[in-house]
C-alpha cells in the first residue's frame, strides 16, 4: 500500500506485558517483604537502613521500563497519557490538601503513604478517561 515504514512507533499501547508484570510483582514482593521485616524487632540500625532502601533498585527498574514503554507510544497516545498524568497529579495534590485540612479538623486520622498510591492510580485512571474521551 505504501513505501512508508510501518514500524514508526513500536507498541501503541501501555497494556502491561509479561516482563512488566514480572518486574512489578518482584518490586511489590520486595516492598512488602522489607516492610514486614522492618516491623519485626531484632535488627540493628544499619540493617534497618538497608532494608528500608532495598526496594529502590527494583522500583527504579520498574520506572525505567514504564518510561521506555511510554517513549514507544505514538505521539497521540503520549499526548493522552501526559494529560492523564497531569490530571492525576493535580487531583492527588488536591486530595492530599483536603485530607490535611480534614486532619486539622480532627475528622480523619493520619494519612498512610501507601494510600497515596491508591489515590494516584485512581486519579490517573480518571485522568485517562477524561483525556481519551476528549480526543475521541
Amino acid at each position: 500500500m505504501s513505501d512508508l515504514d510501518p514500524a514508526m512507533s513500536g507498541r501503541n499501547s501501555l497494556q502491561p506485558t509479561g516482563a512488566l508484570l514480572g518486574i512489578l510483582c518482584v518490586a511489590m514482593a520486595i516492598d512488602v517483604g522489607a516492610g514486614w521485616l522492618l516491623g519485626r524487632p531484632g535488627f540493628g540500625s544499619r540493617v534497618r537502613i538497608i532494608l528500608a532502601l532495598l526496594p529502590i533498585p527494583a522500583n527504579l527498574l520498574l520506572v525505567t521500563v514504564i518510561v521506555r514503554r511510554i517513549r514507544q507510544l505514538d505521539e497521540f497516545l503520549q499526548h493522552v497519557h501526559l494529560e492523564a498524568i497531569a490530571i492525576g497529579f493535580l487531583l492527588t495534590v488536591l486530595a492530599v490538601s483536603v485530607y490535611e485540612d480534614l486532619q486539622k479538623a480532627h475528622v480523619v486520622g493520619s494519612l498512610k503513604i501507601g494510600i497515596l498510591w491508591i489515590f494516584m492510580a485512581a486519579f490517573y485512571g480518571i485522568g485517562y478517561f477524561i483525556a481519551a474521551r476528549h480526543y475521541r
Binding site: M1, S2, L4, D5, P6, A7, M8, S9, N12, S13, L73, D74, E75, F76, L77, H79, V80, A132, H134, Y135, R136
Partner: protein, 70 residues
C-alpha cells in the same frame, strides 16, 4: 486545522486500522486526527500525506479561525 483524511482514506478504500498500520500509529490517533480533535506534529503529518501520495498542504488545511472554535 481541518484535514481531508477521511475523504482520502475512503478513496483508497482503507480502514482506519490499515492507515494506522501504514503510518505506524495507533488507530486512536487516526480517529482523533480525522475527527479534528488532534492536530498531528509535522513528522506524522508528512507520513500521512505521503501515505496518500499528497503534500501536507493537500491533506491539512490551515484555518486560523479553527483554533478559536475549540
Amino acid at each position: 486545522m481541518k484535514n481531508r483524511l477521511r475523504v482520502l482514506r475512503a478513496e483508497k478504500d482503507w480502514t482506519q486500522a490499515q492507515l494506522a498500520e501504514i503510518v505506524g500509529v495507533s488507530r486512536q490517533a487516526i480517529i482523533a486526527v480525522e475527527n479534528g480533535k488532534y492536530d498531528p506534529a509535522l513528522p506524522l503529518a508528512f507520513k500521512l500525506a505521503r501515505a496518500f501520495g499528497k503534500t501536507v498542504e493537500e491533506v491539512f488545511i490551515w484555518e486560523a479561525d479553527s483554533l478559536q472554535e475549540r
